[in-house]
């Protein structure tokens, strides 16, 4: 137990944890949205994220950017970032839709039991990650240095870099936009209606099928944003990148209260923090174990997560 290390590094660790947590939170949104509406753990969401991490790299590759290229100028960086974001969002969104149409919809048509969905999700996840693995020869792919981290704000030993601000900021803006979309827009109302009572929503003229597509799409978009941020922060991607982070994101979603958008944010940030603190205190090998122990403890006292399920009905 390295308490002095934790105390000494508390500031920098906190900002590092929040940065990772922001990515996890955005990723977790996809799980939470789909769960809120369909009561389904969309295991394949990790691969929706995975294709996003590759999509932006491939597009940047068209512009001749690879892990060895020098950091371009400010204006170009913004342009590249936007292009990368658009590519990742598009591909992730399309993949999410494809998974819904190929793997889930036929089952829903036949009113299959919930476990069947979980298993096709697993099948889809295995399929996509393996195809990516074969195509990339299971090699890692380095990310261009679009943003060279420089300190923007220094408080004591806590150096906050432009990249960290970008990631946390982008995550918060995306979350806020999504929250507004769900709570304010007509389409968002449809999502909430289906989440709360699918049958009643259908009677009220909400097109359930469209709402489900929308939910997958929106989850995919968020995963796409998370994927670009992941690339920038981690610097490398690989065919199994989605699986590892997917488990963390799913844990975060449950931690905050699956089905609850704000819960995903809270869960993600908390998980990010718990992991870096635990890594500092106990050693990096224990960070995942610490995350799960916190999860179990929280669920024992709050059986539906920190904020409870709110997008959907609370099941009595």
């Amino acid at each position: 137990m390295n308490f002095s290390g934790l105390i000494q590094d508390f500031g920098p660790l906190t900002i590092a944890g929040l940065t990772q947590g922001a990515i996890i939170a955005l990723f977790a949104l996809g799980y939470t949205l789909v769960y809120g509406v369909l009561r389904l753990i969309n295991f394949a969401h990790s691969e929706v994220f995975l294709v996003g991490t590759y999509a932006c790299l491939i597009v940047w590759g068209f512009f001749g950017l690879d892990q060895n290229s020098a950091t371009p100028g400010m204006g170009a960086v913004i342009g590249y970032l936007l292009i990368g974001l658009v590519a990742a969002i598009l591909i992730s969104g399309v993949t999410a839709l494809a998974v819904e149409v190929v793997a889930y919809r036929p089952l829903r048509r036949r009113n299959a039991p919930p476990l069947a969905f979980l298993i096709t999700a697993i099948g889809a996840s295995l399929f996509i990650s393996e195809v990516v693995g074969v195509l990339t020869h299971r090699n890692q792919r380095g990310v261009p240095n679009l943003i060279r981290p420089t300190d923007v704000l220094v408080i004591g030993n806590m150096h906050i870099t432009n990249l960290q601000i970008l990631i946390i900021g982008l995550a918060l803006v995306s979350m806020f936009a999504l929250d507004q979309f769900i709570n304010r827009s007509r389409l968002g109302r449809g999502i909430r209606a289906v989440a709360q009572n699918p049958d009643a929503a259908a009677l009220m003229g909400v097109n359930k099928s469209r709402v489900i597509m929308l939910v997958f799409l929106v989850g995919g978009l968020m995963a796409g944003i998370a994927a670009v941020m992941y690339d920038l922060k981690i610097g490398v991607t690989r065919f199994d990148a989605g699986f590892i982070l997917g488990i963390e994101a799913f844990t975060a979603a449950v931690l905050g209260g699956i089905g609850n958008l704000r819960g995903a944010l809270l869960g993600g940030l908390l998980l990010g923090l718990v992991q870096v603190y635990a890594a500092s205190l106990l050693g990096s090998e224990w960070l995942r174990a610490a995350a799960f122990i916190i999860l179990v403890l929280i669920l024992l006292f709050r059986p539906t997560g920190l904020l409870g399920e709110s997008l959907g009905r609370a099941r009595a």
Binding site: G5, P12, G235, R288
Partner: protein, 387 residues
């Protein structure tokens, strides 16, 4: 009832589909070659698929290249290549090993690459009496299990650790060193030796998850930074090392990353970027490639379209050791095994001579340091003398 029947037929149809796709098996029996000492097989045993496949593929490509060159020289398919995919997993290895020993034409094995699968597979090879030369299983205890057919064409973990420590102390002259490992048998073993040799110079240490299980190393990076260390020794493979190097550079840490031969792979600079990887030191119980090595590198690139990776050269040598033995008429398991006990072969990566337990002769073990340059290649830096 009819519906039930229809369902049942549907189920059978699916299985049939799977079986049908499985029906066209690869034809493994090619034309039997004629000529003296021909018609045998050499086997590669190791990971070809799965997340551990990178190293396995490196080795199998080096192995296959050697045999191809031999066959070209002979003008026929004299020695056949047999590849067995263990997925690098101890739980898969026994079944694959048993299927290997069932093929009576196989007279020698290059592999297994990893120590874990070696533990699971070697008892089977030993019972069948098929000689095996591992190009990369470095766990010290492997040679003390009493397996008569076990050989390794690489120094064990005891050789590299002290060398790496000596390099850090004598060449880098680093006073503050951070030691981390990936908890693999290889990485942890190496890191432990380095730690004990460096003593007080080690200011802090940490452990990470293995390859493919961790991508965010920000806690480790933070620890390295606040420890004030100027050198980080990482016991592990290039997959994690590339990630760590990149994240350290991003965080502004200017120190040197060092590691063992598991990190001696272009994959490291590919992941981290050449600029970031430049200066990274890897030790290797192997010699820098000489003229013969350059020839090998060109041939390898021509054949496989990728540069030779870690242990490709050792695997190439291991295959050639076997081929030389077969050429000399050692075409049974016993003879070949006996030949291995007396062989003295100068290959492209090293000179090979085995002790009675199958270890590389200690007098031949040279540990070299290699450095990643600005072009992302690891080039020989210097031979490490352990003082």
């Amino acid at each position: 009832m009819r519906q039930v029947l229809a369902r049942a037929i549907g189920g059978v149809a699916i299985i049939g589909l799977l079986a049908g796709s499985a029906a066209c098996n690869k034809d493994t029996s090619s034309d039997t070659a004629t000529g003296s000492n021909c018609g045998y097989k050499l086997a590669f045993f190791g990971a070809l698929t799965g997340s551990a496949a990178n190293l396995g593929v490196n080795i199998s490509q080096g192995f296959e290249l050697a045999i191809n060159q031999y066959n070209e020289k002979k003008g026929s398919t004299c020695i056949e290549v047999a590849k067995f995919d263990s997925q690098g997993a101890a739980e898969v290895a026994p079944g694959v090993a048993r299927s290997l020993v069932a093929d009576k034409k196989i007279i020698g094995i290059v592999g297994p690459p990893f120590s874990g699968e070696s533990e699971a597979a070697m008892p089977i090879f030993d019972e069948a009496g098929i000689p095996a030369v591992s190009p990369s299983a470095t766990r010290v205890s492997l040679s003390s299990k009493g397996w008569k057919v076990f050989h390794r064409a690489v120094a064990n973990d005891d050789a590299q650790g002290p060398a790496a420590a000596a390099y850090i102390k004598d060449t880098l002259k680093a006073e503050k060193v951070f030691v981390a490992d990936d908890q693999s048998a290889y990485g942890a073993g190496l890191a432990d030796v380095v730690k004990s040799k460096l003593g007080a110079a080690v200011v802090a240490s940490d452990k990470t998850e293995g390859d493919g299980k961790q991508a965010d190393f920000s806690a480790l990076v933070q620890k390295v930074q606040s420890s004030g260390a100027t050198a980080l020794f990482y016991g592990g493979y290039y997959t994690n090392a590339g990630l760590i190097r990149k994240q350290l550079t991003s965080a502004g840490w200017k120190g040197v990353l060092l590691g063992g031969d598991g990190m001696k792979d272009p994959g490291l600079s590919k992941a981290a970027g050449n600029a970031s990887a430049a200066g990274t030191i890897v030790t290797c119980p192997c010699s820098p490639p000489e003229a013969a090595g350059d020839e090998f590198n060109t041939a390898f690139k021509t054949k496989w379209g990728v540069p030779a990776g870690t242990y490709s050269d050792v695997a190439y040598d291991a295959a050639n050791i076997f081929l030389q033995g077969i050429e000399a008429g050692n075409t049974t398991h016993e003879k070949l095994n006996e030949y291995l006990s007396t062989v003295n072969y100068k290959g492209i990566a090293n000179t090979y001579k085995f002790t009675s337990t199958g270890e590389l002769d200690p007098t031949l073990i040279k540990v070299w340091a290699f450095k990643f340059n600005e072009a992302g290649e690891n080039v020989a830096d210097q031979e490490i003398k352990i003082s």
